[in-house]
């Protein structure tokens, strides 16, 4: 992915997370599924996980409380993530 594509891909991940107003987080596979509908149909699960971790490190996503299986990770958008989207889209 080029720099701009990567930027748009991360934005798409945040957009999916932002659409989720529930108290629960979303897993890697669900992110992969939904970013496909936002113009990224061919990304691998590995790519999705890597970028989720990057965006999390930036404080825009946070890991939700873990499910029963500890290997499953779920992410939710943070307040900073919402601010980021609002700023980028305004």
């Amino acid at each position: 992915m080029s720099g701009l594509e990567l930027e748009n891909f991360r934005h798409a991940l945040l957009k999916v997370a932002e659409a989720n107003r529930s108290r629960f987080g979303i897993g890697v596979q669900a992110f992969k599924l939904h970013v496909a509908n936002l113009g990224f149909p061919d990304v691998s699960e590995k790519d999705v996980r890597r970028e989720l971790e990057y965006v999390s490190e930036k404080g825009l996503l946070a890991e939700a409380a873990k499910a029963l299986s500890p290997e499953n990770q779920f992410w939710k958008i943070t307040a900073a993530g919402r601010d980021y989207i609002a700023t980028r889209e305004s």
């Binding site: 989720n20 107003r21 629960f24 987080g25 669900a30 409380a65 873990k66 029963l68 980021y84």
Partner: protein, 198 residues
């Protein structure tokens, strides 16, 4: 990540009051993107088709997550009743697991898409029906004064079906196919040639 890129087109829509967003959502459910774009432009809201499309995707996804959370909450409520000893933390973990699985299910959106497709078909039928009715009224005005048509209509002792057959041949000539059924839901009717009594 840069926060100073160009504004996204769907931003104006997402920042509208929820009620207005819902109205646009409803419009999108029964009209084409172009029709909604034109309608919004009349209200002074100029957005691209791409922005509308993205806005709709976002609304759908939001609604989808919301419905899934409702399902999970209902399930957790039942679980809590049958297992009152479960802690809130354990319940949340169960909920998270189920929500995580439901978020993977696309059936919701496929069902939704089918509903939208059905709405679009119904809308097309409505428009076809309106056009058919208008064209029928126009044809009536054109032919009501025609002597041959009047004679056919007034002929005594002739069955209704025969009158229809004769009138059809008079009005449509070689294009007339009396074997086909006619009625307000026959969408092909609107393709009838522009004809006038000679």
């Amino acid at each position: 990540m840069s926060a100073t890129r160009k504004p996204r087109g769907d931003a104006k829509l997402k920042t509208l009051p929820e009620e207005r967003q819902q109205q646009i959502d409803d419009l999108l459910a029964s009209h084409t993107l172009k029709e909604v774009q034109a309608s919004l432009a009349e209200d002074g809201l100029n957005v691209s088709l791409q922005a509308l499309s993205e806005f709709w995707s976002w609304r759908q996804l939001r609604a989808q997550f919301s419905r899934k959370e409702t399902l999970v909450n209902e399930a957790l409520e039942q679980l809590k009743q049958s297992n009152p000893q479960l802690s809130e933390e354990a319940l949340f973990s169960h909920g998270q697991t189920v929500f995580g699985l439901l978020a993977l299910e696309e059936k919701d959106s496929l069902t939704w898409k089918r509903i939208q497709d059905a709405r679009s078909r119904r809308l097309k039928l409505d428009l076809d029906r309106q056009r058919f009715q208008r064209e029928t009224a126009e044809l009536f005005l054109k032919w009501a004064a025609d002597r041959r048509a009047q004679e056919i209509a007034a002929a005594g002792g002739v069955a209704q079906s025969e009158k229809i057959e004769r009138l059809g041949q008079l009005m449509f000539g070689d294009d007339w196919d009396g074997k086909e059924s006619t009625g307000p839901t026959r969408t092909g009717q609107s393709d009838a040639k522009e004809i006038s009594p000679k």
